[in-house]
Each structure stands twice: as C-alpha cells, then as structure tokens.
C-alpha cells in the first residue's frame, strides 16, 4: 500500500520545501534534520497526552514537507518549553526553540492557531508587559477570561487567590514606561506582540 507520507515526500522535495527547512534551521539555531526519531523526547514530555503527533512527530511532519499540517497542529501550541525533551535528545536538538519558531511562523503566515486559548493567554501576558513593564496577573486573568467569554470557571479559585493575596489588586510596574514602548516599536509589533 502506498502511504500518504511517500506521496508527500515526492510532492515536497522541491526547492520550496528545502527553503522552509533551511529557514527553520536558521531561525531556531537547531538542526531538526538530525532527528532520527528515537522518540526519547516524547518519553518525558509532560504534555504528550494532549498532543496529536508528539515532539518527534512534529519534526517528522516538517521533514516530510507537510508545512501546513505542522503549522496547523495543536502540538506546537501545547509545547510549554520545559526543555525536558532536549535533555533526552541524543542529537542535542533544541526542540523548545524549534517549537518557538513553528508558533511564530504560524502567526506570520496567518495560519489560524489550533489552540486559540493558548495564544490568547500569550497575547494577554505580552499586553501586560507593554502596559506595566511587568506582568499583572489579576488583569491578565480577568482579560483572558473576558476574551473567552468565560467568567465562571475558576471564579472560586480567583476569589480564594484574592483572599490569600496571591493576586494583587494593584500592578507592580516599572517607572520608565517609555523604554518598554520603545522595545515594541523596535520590533514593529502592536501592544500584544502581534504584527501591525
């Protein structure tokens, strides 16, 4: 039986495919072509059960030229960058750095994120840094929940955290606010780290 993978290799072995791989290697500073799929990375991955392909599977997808499938996968958003995989990798591939590049490419290419909640959370954190220079957890949580139209899950937890003063009512912020705005301008991104 002819596997779909074989077809994809043939369809994607042209220059465009090679360009994408080289770009990923250059941007991530790690050579995913070295991966020989021993699957050690998945063995220790704490979020593996939430993934579709697992870390080496995501690398395999890209090696096979399935660029869209890679950028559309949930896995690139579930990776929390804990580096457990990299410690296990016999080829010393920086898998967390690779996943960073995959997420960033998905955003740049306008691929709808498979896990919009996770992206929404990242946007709120970056927005908080834009506003205060530091992260203001209470506002991040409130704004995140509002964005999700979900004010009730975790409400009890939020109240408990407020009572225990785990969530401050006022933000801790830096005094030189202009310098943070300057960083965002230098990167050419909006208040939440998105393209202008």
């Amino acid at each position: 039986m002819e596997s779909t993978d074989t077809i994809r290799i043939e369809a994607s072995s042209g220059p465009a495919y090679r360009d994408v791989i080289s770009k990923v290697v250059e941007r991530s500073g790690t050579d995913i072509r070295r991966c020989f799929h021993c699957q050690s990375c998945g063995g220790g991955c704490p979020v593996c059960q939430a993934m579709t392909y697992r870390p080496n599977g995501v690398i395999r997808l890209l090696q096979l030229g399935c660029v869209q499938e890679t950028l559309q996968s949930s896995d690139i958003w579930f990776c929390i960058g804990c580096n457990t995989c990299s410690m296990a990798c016999p080829q010393a591939i920086d898998i967390a750095a690779f996943m960073d590049v995959m997420r960033q490419m998905a955003l740049e290419e306008g691929v709808p994120p498979a896990e919009p909640d996770i992206l929404s959370f990242h946007r709120e954190v970056v927005g908080s840094i834009h506003k205060y220079g530091r992260t203001y957890k209470l506002e991040i949580m409130m704004r995140y929940k509002l964005r999700q139209f979900d004010m009730f899950s975790d409400l009890d937890l939020g109240l408990k955290m407020l009572a225990k003063r785990k969530l401050d009512l006022l933000p801790s912020k830096i005094s030189d606010q202009r310098v943070i705005k300057r960083i965002f301008e230098a990167c050419g991104v909006d208040n939440h780290g998105g393209g202008r």
């Binding site: 941007r27 500073g29 790690t30 704490p46 979020v47 059960q49 939430a50 579930f78 929390i80 960058g81 804990c82 580096n83 457990t84 990299s86 410690m87 990798c89 591939i93 920086d94 967390a96 750095a97 960073d100 590049v101 997420r103 960033q104 955003l107 896990e115 909640d117 996770i118 992206l119 959370f121 990242h122 946007r123 954190v125 970056v126 840094i129 220079g133 530091r134 992260t135 203001y136 957890k137 991040i140 899950s153 975790d154 955290m161 225990k164 003063r165 785990k166 401050d168 801790s172 830096i174 030189d176 310098v179 943070i180 300057r182 960083i183 965002f184 230098a186 990167c187 991104v189 780290g193």
Partner: protein, 291 residues
C-alpha cells in the same frame, strides 16, 4: 566569578512572581540571604524577563526584554536571580550576546552602552551551594529533624542543549536540608514539569499533571513538597484535585526555619494549602513565629 563570600554584594532580580503572587518566597529569600551575610541590592527598575509567553510568539521582543535587565546591572556586582525561569531567559540572552556580534551591535544601539562581558548571572541555589557555611554549624543539625520532604525542582533541572555545560542543581535541596536533619525522599517526579502557563489556558491538561506529582509525593509518605520555583509552587497549590493535598513550601521558607529564624505568619497566610497543622505537629513552631 570569584568564590561567593560573606558580605558580598549582589544585584538582585526578583522577577514578577516573587514581586507579586509569591511575596512569601521573596521575603523568606531576602531574610535567608541577610542571615548568611549577603547584601542584595534590587536591580533598579527591572522589567519582566518576558516570561514563557513572549518567546513563544516573538523571539526578538523576548531578547530585548531580557537585555534591558542586563543593561541595568551595575558593573562589578554579580546578578542574583530568584526564579529559575527568569534565570533561563536572562542567561540565554547573555549567551546570544556572547556568540553573536550582530546581537551585540543591536544591544549597544538599543541601550547605549557596551555589553558587560564580565557580568555573572547566578541563581539563588548557586549562592547556597558555594556559600553555605551555616549547615556545618552543630547548633542547627537537628533543626529540621523529622521532616520527610519530597524535593521538587520542576523544569529547573532541564536546559536547552546550548546550556548543557552550565551548573546544575541536582540534589542541592537534599544536601542542604539533609544537613539540617530533614529526610529527603527518593521519588518519581522531582523534575516533572508543573504545567506552567497552561494552568490558565488549559486547566484540564494541567490538573492530571499536578495530581500525578502530588500523588507521587503522597505515595512515598512525604509530609510536604518543597519547591525551587514560585510558578511550580502556585500550580501545585491551585491545580491539585486530589482528596489528600500536601503542604507546599518554598525552599527559602524552609531554610528560614532551618536557620533558626522561624517562619512568619504573614508568609503562611499566603499558602492555599494550610501548612500550619504540619508545622505544629513537627514542632517547628517552637522556633519563633513572627507576625
């Protein structure tokens, strides 16, 4: 860097968690450092290291956030970092600056000063490892007697390949707290990730992860879990849905007890899983609990 010595001065980067949700971690850490004779000067007007979110969506932004902090550090003082995650962000930016001349040019343009190639960034743990004289003090050898603890490092022990030659902290909590008479337990999850930010966006994914960690500590009959990171501390407290929950302590809080300074009520009040019954049962409250 010269060996860490008493009386030494450090620039101190607490990071957002210790400045807000984990103030008890910050206060106990400062107290321990004071007791050990280290002088910590908070890095003036520090900003967020970028956290997990920034590098997830924009590497350049993350690099600048880390660099601004590095540019604030006065020369001649090592930069002490409290949070393992901030530590990683700052060190990675520093490595990038060391290796890439274009990155150095960008830094100089952005911050109007050359990169300080002599700046040492060290984590709180490193300070203890090299400068812990009190553990040999016979007065304290039984300070933590009877405390069975599960040492929890989370992802603090893991590194990207570029940092594989950096100092590691395996066994440090066991070694130090063990020297005060506490009993470190061998268990299955000392370096299992706590789930970090997914705790907010995907609690259904994080709860089983946290439950597995806590159940692992319960299975070896631990009295408590001691954490190295404020984020881990929070996740273990808020995302456990097991009937049996264990008190979770910051390493610095336990050190405060170990060094005879007791534990402050104001720190304990900020714990979501009440640690008082355990502390009472172990007699750790006989050392002064100061309000």
């Amino acid at each position: 860097m010269a060996a860490v010595a008493e009386g030494m001065e450090f620039s101190y980067f607490p990071g957002c968690s210790l400045a807000t949700s984990a103030k008890e971690n910050n206060r106990s850490l400062l107290k321990v450092c004071q007791k050990l004779g280290f002088n910590l000067v908070e890095l003036e007007d520090w900003n967020c290291c970028g956290s997990s979110s920034t590098h997830s969506i924009n590497s350049e932004l993350a690099f600048h956030f880390a660099c601004r902090n590095l540019s604030l550090a006065p020369a001649g003082r090592p930069l002490l970092v409290a949070c393992p995650s901030c530590m990683l962000r700052l060190r990675q930016a520093q490595l990038h600056l060391q290796e890439d001349s274009e990155a150095r040019r960008v830094y100089e343009r952005m911050w109007g000063r050359p990169v300080d190639s002599n700046l040492t960034i060290i984590h709180f743990f490193e300070l203890l490892d090299s400068g812990f004289g009190a553990a040999s003090n016979p007065d304290f050898k039984t300070a933590l007697k009877g405390l069975r603890f599960a040492p929890y490092y989370g992802c603090m022990l893991t590194r990207p390949p570029a940092m594989r030659h950096e100092k590691r902290y395996h066994g440090l909590m066991e070694k130090i707290l063990g020297s005060f008479g506490a009993e470190p337990l061998v268990w299955g999850h000392p370096s299992r990730c706590c789930g970090t930010f997914l705790s907010v966006a995907k609690p259904a994914v994080v709860t089983p992860m946290v439950n597995q960690i806590i159940q692992g500590a319960v299975d070896v009959k631990a009295d408590c879990i001691i954490t190295a990171c404020a984020m881990c501390h929070l996740n273990l407290e808020i995302r456990c849905s097991l009937r049996t929950q264990l008190p979770i302590f910051h390493f610095s809080e336990i050190l405060s007890i170990a060094l005879g300074m007791g534990i402050k009520k104001s720190w304990l009040k900020r714990h979501l899983v009440d640690p008082l019954p355990l502390l009472k049962a172990k007699g750790f409250l006989e050392t002064p609990v100061v309000g």
